[in-house]
Protein backbone atom coordinates (compact mmCIF):
# COMPACT_ATOMS: atom_id res chain seq x y z
CA UNK A 1 0.00 0.00 0.00
CA UNK A 2 2.71 2.39 1.14
CA UNK A 3 4.72 1.53 -1.93
CA UNK A 4 1.83 2.28 -4.21
CA UNK A 5 1.29 5.66 -2.65
CA UNK A 6 4.96 6.41 -3.06
CA UNK A 7 4.87 5.40 -6.68
CA UNK A 8 1.87 7.61 -7.34
CA UNK A 9 3.60 10.52 -5.63
CA UNK A 10 6.73 9.97 -7.65
CA UNK A 11 4.73 9.79 -10.83
CA UNK A 12 2.87 12.96 -9.93
CA UNK A 13 6.17 14.66 -9.26
CA UNK A 14 7.44 13.41 -12.58
CA UNK A 15 4.38 14.69 -14.40
CA UNK A 16 4.68 18.12 -12.87
CA UNK A 17 8.30 18.18 -13.99
CA UNK A 18 7.23 17.08 -17.44
CA UNK A 19 4.83 19.99 -17.64
CA UNK A 20 7.49 22.62 -17.05
CA UNK A 21 9.60 22.31 -20.22
CA UNK A 22 11.04 18.93 -19.30
CA UNK A 23 13.66 17.59 -21.68
CA UNK A 24 14.51 13.90 -21.74
CA UNK A 25 18.13 12.83 -21.19
CA UNK A 26 18.77 12.09 -24.88
CA UNK A 27 17.65 15.58 -25.91
CA UNK A 28 19.86 17.05 -23.17
CA UNK A 29 22.82 15.15 -24.56
CA UNK A 30 22.15 16.31 -28.08
CA UNK A 31 21.73 19.89 -26.92
CA UNK A 32 24.96 19.92 -24.89
CA UNK A 33 27.06 18.42 -27.69
CA UNK A 34 25.75 20.97 -30.14
CA UNK A 35 26.23 23.75 -27.63
CA UNK A 36 29.94 23.03 -27.16
CA UNK A 37 30.43 22.36 -30.84
CA UNK A 38 29.26 25.90 -31.50
CA UNK A 39 31.33 27.31 -28.66
CA UNK A 40 34.56 25.52 -29.64
CA UNK A 41 34.29 24.52 -33.30
CA UNK A 42 37.97 23.47 -33.39
CA UNK A 43 37.84 21.01 -30.50
CA UNK A 44 37.30 17.39 -31.54
CA UNK A 45 34.61 15.52 -29.60
CA UNK A 46 37.04 12.94 -28.11
CA UNK A 47 39.31 15.71 -26.85
CA UNK A 48 36.67 16.83 -24.33
CA UNK A 49 37.75 13.80 -22.29
CA UNK A 50 40.92 15.79 -21.56
CA UNK A 51 39.01 18.52 -19.77
CA UNK A 52 40.61 21.95 -19.70
CA UNK A 53 43.60 20.63 -21.66
CA UNK A 54 41.37 20.54 -24.73
CA UNK A 55 41.24 24.34 -24.49
CA UNK A 56 44.57 25.46 -23.03
CA UNK A 57 47.68 24.62 -25.04
CA UNK A 58 50.20 25.84 -22.45
CA UNK A 59 48.61 23.77 -19.70
CA UNK A 60 48.27 20.81 -22.05
CA UNK A 61 52.03 20.68 -22.61
CA UNK A 62 52.70 20.56 -18.88
CA UNK A 63 50.07 17.90 -18.43
CA UNK A 64 51.66 15.81 -21.16
CA UNK A 65 55.01 16.12 -19.37
CA UNK A 66 53.34 14.82 -16.20
CA UNK A 67 51.77 12.01 -18.22
CA UNK A 68 55.32 10.85 -19.10
CA UNK A 69 55.25 9.26 -15.66
CA UNK A 70 51.98 10.16 -14.02
CA UNK A 71 51.76 10.15 -10.23
CA UNK A 72 48.52 8.12 -10.33
CA UNK A 73 50.43 5.03 -11.47
CA UNK A 74 51.37 4.38 -7.87
CA UNK A 75 47.67 4.45 -6.94
CA UNK A 76 46.85 2.07 -9.79
CA UNK A 77 49.40 -0.43 -8.41
CA UNK A 78 48.10 -0.05 -4.86
CA UNK A 79 44.55 -0.33 -6.15
CA UNK A 80 45.28 -3.54 -8.03
CA UNK A 81 46.78 -5.06 -4.91
CA UNK A 82 43.79 -4.05 -2.78
CA UNK A 83 41.38 -5.21 -5.47
CA UNK A 84 42.85 -8.69 -5.58
CA UNK A 85 43.32 -9.15 -1.82
CA UNK A 86 40.58 -11.52 -0.59
CA UNK A 87 38.15 -10.48 2.15
CA UNK A 88 37.93 -12.45 5.40
CA UNK A 89 35.29 -14.70 3.82
CA UNK A 90 37.62 -15.54 0.94
CA UNK A 91 35.70 -13.57 -1.67
CA UNK A 92 37.14 -10.60 -3.55
CA UNK A 93 35.82 -7.44 -5.20
CA UNK A 94 35.69 -9.39 -8.44
CA UNK A 95 32.80 -11.43 -6.99
CA UNK A 96 30.64 -8.31 -6.61
CA UNK A 97 30.92 -6.91 -10.13
CA UNK A 98 30.01 -8.01 -13.62
CA UNK A 99 33.05 -9.18 -15.63
CA UNK A 100 34.97 -9.51 -12.39
CA UNK A 101 35.09 -5.73 -12.12
CA UNK A 102 37.45 -5.35 -15.08
CA UNK A 103 36.59 -2.79 -17.75
CA UNK A 104 33.28 -1.67 -16.26
CA UNK A 105 33.93 1.84 -14.95
CA UNK A 106 32.32 3.41 -18.02
CA UNK A 107 28.90 2.08 -16.91
CA UNK A 108 28.93 3.95 -13.59
CA UNK A 109 27.02 5.53 -12.04
CA UNK A 110 24.17 3.17 -12.81
CA UNK A 111 20.56 3.05 -11.72
CA UNK A 112 19.72 0.03 -9.59
CA UNK A 113 16.09 -0.90 -10.20
CA UNK A 114 15.94 -3.10 -7.11
CA UNK A 115 16.85 -0.43 -4.60
CA UNK A 116 15.71 2.49 -6.75
CA UNK A 117 18.99 4.32 -6.22
CA UNK A 118 21.90 5.62 -8.22
CA UNK A 119 24.97 3.49 -7.53
CA UNK A 120 28.38 5.03 -8.09
CA UNK A 121 31.48 2.90 -8.42
CA UNK A 122 32.73 3.98 -5.00
CA UNK A 123 29.38 3.15 -3.38
CA UNK A 124 29.43 -0.26 -5.07
CA UNK A 125 32.96 -0.88 -3.76
CA UNK A 126 31.88 -0.18 -0.19
CA UNK A 127 28.65 -2.15 -0.48
CA UNK A 128 30.72 -5.05 -1.74
CA UNK A 129 32.95 -4.78 1.32
CA UNK A 130 29.98 -4.72 3.66
CA UNK A 131 28.36 -7.67 1.94
CA UNK A 132 31.51 -9.65 2.65
CA UNK A 133 31.85 -8.61 6.28
CA UNK A 134 34.39 -5.82 5.86
CA UNK A 135 34.12 -2.27 7.16
CA UNK A 136 33.36 0.36 4.51
CA UNK A 137 36.24 2.60 3.47
CA UNK A 138 36.23 6.34 4.04
CA UNK A 139 35.04 8.10 0.89
CA UNK A 140 36.90 10.71 -1.13
CA UNK A 141 40.52 9.65 -0.99
CA UNK A 142 42.92 6.95 0.13
CA UNK A 143 42.18 3.27 -0.48
CA UNK A 144 38.81 3.80 -2.13
CA UNK A 145 40.38 6.22 -4.62
CA UNK A 146 43.13 3.68 -5.36
CA UNK A 147 40.69 0.83 -5.97
CA UNK A 148 38.56 3.09 -8.13
CA UNK A 149 41.73 4.22 -9.97
CA UNK A 150 42.63 0.62 -10.76
CA UNK A 151 39.12 -0.19 -11.95
CA UNK A 152 39.13 2.96 -14.09
CA UNK A 153 42.52 2.00 -15.51
CA UNK A 154 41.15 -1.34 -16.70
CA UNK A 155 38.28 0.53 -18.39
CA UNK A 156 40.34 2.99 -20.39
CA UNK A 157 39.12 3.83 -23.88
CA UNK A 158 35.73 2.24 -23.28
CA UNK A 159 33.11 4.82 -24.22
CA UNK A 160 31.24 6.26 -21.24
CA UNK A 161 27.88 4.57 -21.20
CA UNK A 162 25.61 5.82 -18.44
CA UNK A 163 22.04 4.63 -18.88
CA UNK A 164 18.91 6.36 -17.64
CA UNK A 165 16.33 3.59 -17.92
CA UNK A 166 12.68 4.23 -18.58
CA UNK A 167 11.86 4.18 -14.89
CA UNK A 168 10.35 7.25 -13.22
CA UNK A 169 12.71 6.84 -10.27
CA UNK A 170 15.75 6.90 -12.54
CA UNK A 171 14.45 9.91 -14.40
CA UNK A 172 13.74 11.62 -11.12
CA UNK A 173 17.31 11.00 -9.94
CA UNK A 174 18.65 12.36 -13.23
CA UNK A 175 16.42 15.44 -12.96
CA UNK A 176 17.53 16.06 -9.38
CA UNK A 177 21.16 15.92 -10.47
CA UNK A 178 20.35 18.27 -13.31
CA UNK A 179 18.65 20.72 -10.98
CA UNK A 180 21.71 20.61 -8.73
CA UNK A 181 24.00 21.35 -11.66
CA UNK A 182 21.95 24.34 -12.77
CA UNK A 183 21.15 25.85 -9.35
CA UNK A 184 23.06 28.82 -8.03
CA UNK A 185 24.26 28.23 -4.51
CA UNK A 186 26.68 29.52 -1.89
CA UNK A 187 27.57 33.06 -1.00
CA UNK A 188 29.00 33.59 -4.49
CA UNK A 189 25.62 32.60 -5.96
CA UNK A 190 27.16 30.36 -8.59
CA UNK A 191 25.86 27.15 -10.14
CA UNK A 192 28.13 24.42 -11.51
CA UNK A 193 26.82 25.57 -14.87
CA UNK A 194 27.84 29.20 -14.28
CA UNK A 195 31.45 28.14 -14.74
CA UNK A 196 31.34 24.96 -16.78
CA UNK A 197 28.40 25.53 -19.13
CA UNK A 198 28.35 29.31 -19.51
CA UNK A 199 32.06 30.06 -19.13
CA UNK A 200 34.44 27.26 -20.17
CA UNK A 201 37.60 28.68 -21.73
CA UNK A 202 37.25 31.87 -19.68
CA UNK A 203 39.36 32.49 -16.63
CA UNK A 204 38.28 32.43 -13.04
CA UNK A 205 41.09 34.20 -11.22
CA UNK A 206 44.16 32.62 -12.86
CA UNK A 207 42.53 29.35 -13.90
CA UNK A 208 40.89 28.45 -17.18
CA UNK A 209 37.53 26.77 -16.73
CA UNK A 210 36.84 23.34 -18.20
CA UNK A 211 33.68 22.36 -20.11
CA UNK A 212 31.13 20.23 -18.25
CA UNK A 213 31.15 17.60 -20.96
CA UNK A 214 34.19 15.41 -20.30
CA UNK A 215 34.73 16.47 -16.70
CA UNK A 216 33.94 13.07 -15.27
CA UNK A 217 35.84 10.79 -17.67
CA UNK A 218 39.25 10.99 -16.01
CA UNK A 219 38.28 10.49 -12.38
CA UNK A 220 39.56 9.58 -9.89
CA UNK A 221 42.38 12.07 -10.32
CA UNK A 222 45.76 12.81 -8.84
CA UNK A 223 45.51 16.55 -8.27
CA UNK A 224 48.79 18.35 -7.75
CA UNK A 225 46.96 20.69 -5.41
CA UNK A 226 45.94 17.73 -3.22
CA UNK A 227 49.26 15.97 -3.76
CA UNK A 228 47.22 12.76 -3.77
CA UNK A 229 44.29 10.96 -5.38
CA UNK A 230 40.71 12.04 -4.95
CA UNK A 231 37.32 10.95 -6.23
CA UNK A 232 34.83 12.96 -8.28
CA UNK A 233 32.72 13.61 -5.20
CA UNK A 234 35.72 14.94 -3.29
CA UNK A 235 36.00 17.47 -6.11
CA UNK A 236 32.28 18.28 -5.84
CA UNK A 237 32.78 19.10 -2.17
CA UNK A 238 35.74 21.31 -3.10
CA UNK A 239 33.73 23.14 -5.78
CA UNK A 240 30.86 23.70 -3.37
CA UNK A 241 33.23 25.15 -0.79
CA UNK A 242 34.77 27.41 -3.41
CA UNK A 243 31.42 29.09 -4.03
CA UNK A 244 31.01 29.13 -0.23
CA UNK A 245 28.24 26.60 -0.05
CA UNK A 246 28.21 23.89 2.58
CA UNK A 247 29.26 20.66 0.85
CA UNK A 248 27.11 17.55 1.04
CA UNK A 249 27.99 14.21 2.51
CA UNK A 250 30.09 12.15 0.06
CA UNK A 251 27.98 9.42 -1.56
CA UNK A 252 24.81 10.92 -0.11
CA UNK A 253 21.80 11.14 -2.41
CA UNK A 254 22.57 14.69 -3.60
CA UNK A 255 26.05 13.97 -4.93
CA UNK A 256 25.10 10.56 -6.35
CA UNK A 257 22.29 12.14 -8.36
CA UNK A 258 24.62 14.93 -9.41
CA UNK A 259 27.22 12.39 -10.54
CA UNK A 260 24.53 10.56 -12.49
CA UNK A 261 23.49 13.64 -14.46
CA UNK A 262 27.05 14.97 -14.75
CA UNK A 263 28.49 11.69 -16.06
CA UNK A 264 25.60 11.14 -18.46
CA UNK A 265 26.73 14.36 -20.17
CA UNK A 266 30.03 12.61 -21.05
CA UNK A 267 28.37 9.64 -22.71
CA UNK A 268 30.28 8.50 -25.79
CA UNK A 269 33.58 10.02 -24.68
CA UNK A 270 36.43 7.62 -23.93
CA UNK A 271 36.80 6.76 -20.25
CA UNK A 272 40.38 7.83 -19.46
CA UNK A 273 40.69 7.65 -15.71
CA UNK A 274 42.63 7.88 -13.58
CA UNK A 275 43.89 11.31 -14.56
CA UNK A 276 46.42 13.91 -13.47
CA UNK A 277 45.30 17.47 -12.88
CA UNK A 278 46.95 20.63 -11.63
Amino acid sequence: MMNKICLVLVLLGFLSVANSSYADPESDLEMIRQYYQEMFPDVAFEDYANGVYALDENAREQWQEIEEFPPYEIAVDTGEELFSTPFKDGKTYADCFPDGGIGIKQNYPLFDAESGRVITLELAINECREKHGEKPLKYGKGEIASISAYMAYTSRDNPVNVIVPDDPRAIEAYEKGKKFYYSRRGQLNMACSTCHIANPGNKIRADILSPAMGQTTHFPVFRSKWEEMGTLQRRYAGCNKQVRAKPFELQGEEYRNLEYFHTYMSNGLPANGPGARK
Binding site: E68, I204, R205, D207, L209, S210, S224, Q242, R277, K278
Partner: protein, 152 residues
Protein backbone atom coordinates in the same frame (compact mmCIF):
# COMPACT_ATOMS: atom_id res chain seq x y z
CA UNK B 1 85.44 13.51 -6.84
CA UNK B 2 83.74 10.90 -8.91
CA UNK B 3 85.87 8.15 -7.64
CA UNK B 4 85.08 8.90 -4.04
CA UNK B 5 81.39 9.15 -4.78
CA UNK B 6 81.29 5.85 -6.54
CA UNK B 7 82.92 4.13 -3.65
CA UNK B 8 80.35 5.61 -1.36
CA UNK B 9 77.58 4.52 -3.62
CA UNK B 10 78.85 1.05 -3.90
CA UNK B 11 79.05 0.90 -0.14
CA UNK B 12 75.53 2.11 0.04
CA UNK B 13 74.21 -0.43 -2.38
CA UNK B 14 75.47 -3.33 -0.39
CA UNK B 15 72.99 -2.39 2.29
CA UNK B 16 69.36 -2.37 1.42
CA UNK B 17 68.16 -0.90 4.68
CA UNK B 18 69.22 2.15 6.58
CA UNK B 19 71.51 1.37 9.49
CA UNK B 20 75.11 0.91 10.65
CA UNK B 21 77.54 2.13 7.99
CA UNK B 22 74.92 4.36 6.45
CA UNK B 23 74.79 6.44 9.57
CA UNK B 24 78.31 7.61 8.77
CA UNK B 25 77.64 8.40 5.16
CA UNK B 26 75.24 11.31 5.15
CA UNK B 27 77.81 13.38 6.98
CA UNK B 28 80.33 12.89 4.22
CA UNK B 29 77.90 13.37 1.39
CA UNK B 30 76.29 16.23 3.22
CA UNK B 31 79.43 18.34 3.52
CA UNK B 32 79.69 18.66 -0.23
CA UNK B 33 75.96 18.72 -0.67
CA UNK B 34 75.17 21.48 1.77
CA UNK B 35 77.63 24.06 0.50
CA UNK B 36 75.74 24.52 -2.75
CA UNK B 37 72.23 23.42 -1.83
CA UNK B 38 72.02 25.49 1.36
CA UNK B 39 73.27 28.69 -0.31
CA UNK B 40 70.62 31.39 -0.41
CA UNK B 41 71.78 33.22 -3.54
CA UNK B 42 72.38 31.87 -7.01
CA UNK B 43 75.97 33.19 -6.96
CA UNK B 44 76.81 31.38 -3.73
CA UNK B 45 75.13 28.24 -5.00
CA UNK B 46 77.19 28.40 -8.21
CA UNK B 47 80.38 28.90 -6.23
CA UNK B 48 79.45 26.01 -3.94
CA UNK B 49 78.71 23.74 -6.85
CA UNK B 50 81.32 24.70 -9.42
CA UNK B 51 83.81 26.95 -7.56
CA UNK B 52 82.97 29.53 -10.21
CA UNK B 53 80.14 31.82 -11.16
CA UNK B 54 81.37 32.69 -14.62
CA UNK B 55 78.52 31.67 -16.92
CA UNK B 56 78.61 31.85 -20.70
CA UNK B 57 75.18 32.31 -22.17
CA UNK B 58 74.56 29.61 -24.76
CA UNK B 59 71.87 28.98 -27.34
CA UNK B 60 72.95 25.37 -27.59
CA UNK B 61 71.04 24.43 -24.45
CA UNK B 62 67.45 23.35 -24.99
CA UNK B 63 65.65 24.36 -21.84
CA UNK B 64 62.04 23.30 -21.67
CA UNK B 65 60.05 24.87 -18.86
CA UNK B 66 56.53 26.34 -18.99
CA UNK B 67 56.06 30.10 -19.35
CA UNK B 68 53.11 29.93 -17.01
CA UNK B 69 53.23 27.15 -14.44
CA UNK B 70 49.94 25.29 -13.98
CA UNK B 71 50.94 24.61 -10.39
CA UNK B 72 54.11 26.02 -8.81
CA UNK B 73 54.51 22.85 -6.77
CA UNK B 74 55.03 20.69 -9.86
CA UNK B 75 56.85 22.44 -12.68
CA UNK B 76 58.17 20.06 -15.34
CA UNK B 77 61.69 20.89 -16.52
CA UNK B 78 63.83 19.34 -19.26
CA UNK B 79 67.41 20.36 -20.02
CA UNK B 80 69.09 19.00 -23.10
CA UNK B 81 72.22 19.99 -24.99
CA UNK B 82 74.42 18.92 -27.88
CA UNK B 83 77.48 20.57 -26.32
CA UNK B 84 80.33 17.99 -26.16
CA UNK B 85 81.80 16.49 -22.98
CA UNK B 86 79.03 17.46 -20.59
CA UNK B 87 79.76 16.47 -17.01
CA UNK B 88 77.03 18.25 -15.09
CA UNK B 89 73.61 19.86 -15.56
CA UNK B 90 72.21 22.03 -12.77
CA UNK B 91 69.01 24.01 -12.30
CA UNK B 92 68.83 27.25 -10.32
CA UNK B 93 65.57 28.91 -9.32
CA UNK B 94 66.69 32.37 -8.31
CA UNK B 95 63.91 33.42 -5.93
CA UNK B 96 63.50 30.14 -4.08
CA UNK B 97 64.86 30.27 -0.50
CA UNK B 98 67.71 28.05 -1.73
CA UNK B 99 68.16 28.59 -5.47
CA UNK B 100 69.90 25.32 -6.38
CA UNK B 101 67.05 22.94 -7.14
CA UNK B 102 68.83 19.96 -8.63
CA UNK B 103 72.23 19.01 -9.98
CA UNK B 104 72.87 16.05 -12.24
CA UNK B 105 76.20 14.32 -12.71
CA UNK B 106 76.54 13.08 -16.27
CA UNK B 107 79.25 10.41 -16.62
CA UNK B 108 80.62 9.57 -20.05
CA UNK B 109 78.08 7.60 -22.05
CA UNK B 110 75.09 9.23 -20.37
CA UNK B 111 73.02 11.62 -22.47
CA UNK B 112 73.02 15.32 -21.64
CA UNK B 113 69.25 15.19 -21.47
CA UNK B 114 67.44 15.14 -18.13
CA UNK B 115 63.93 15.82 -16.90
CA UNK B 116 62.74 16.57 -13.39
CA UNK B 117 59.83 18.33 -11.67
CA UNK B 118 60.55 21.24 -9.36
CA UNK B 119 58.80 23.67 -7.03
CA UNK B 120 58.75 27.41 -7.69
CA UNK B 121 57.47 29.63 -4.90
CA UNK B 122 56.69 32.64 -7.11
CA UNK B 123 57.25 34.10 -10.57
CA UNK B 124 61.01 34.04 -11.20
CA UNK B 125 63.90 33.39 -13.54
CA UNK B 126 65.10 29.82 -13.73
CA UNK B 127 68.59 29.09 -15.03
CA UNK B 128 69.92 25.90 -16.53
CA UNK B 129 73.68 25.55 -16.22
CA UNK B 130 75.65 23.01 -18.22
CA UNK B 131 79.25 22.16 -17.43
CA UNK B 132 80.93 21.06 -20.65
CA UNK B 133 84.66 20.77 -21.28
CA UNK B 134 85.18 22.34 -17.87
CA UNK B 135 83.28 25.52 -18.80
CA UNK B 136 79.91 26.70 -17.53
CA UNK B 137 77.23 27.47 -20.10
CA UNK B 138 73.79 28.73 -19.21
CA UNK B 139 70.37 29.73 -20.40
CA UNK B 140 67.57 31.41 -18.51
CA UNK B 141 63.79 31.57 -18.70
CA UNK B 142 61.13 33.38 -16.74
CA UNK B 143 58.34 31.25 -15.31
CA UNK B 144 55.13 32.88 -14.15
CA UNK B 145 53.62 31.26 -11.11
CA UNK B 146 50.04 32.16 -10.33
CA UNK B 147 47.99 31.28 -7.33
CA UNK B 148 44.69 30.25 -8.79
CA UNK B 149 43.21 28.08 -6.15
CA UNK B 150 40.32 26.98 -8.29
CA UNK B 151 41.20 25.03 -11.41
CA UNK B 152 41.37 21.41 -12.41
Amino acid sequence: MFYKRRLLLRGMLSFTTAFSALALMPGIVFAKWSKAFDADTTDDALLGMFDSKELVSSDQIKFKIPEIAENGAVVPVTVKTDLPNVSNISIFAEKNPQPLAASFTIPEGTAADVSVRIRLGETMNVTAVVKADGKLYSTQKEVKVTIGGCGG
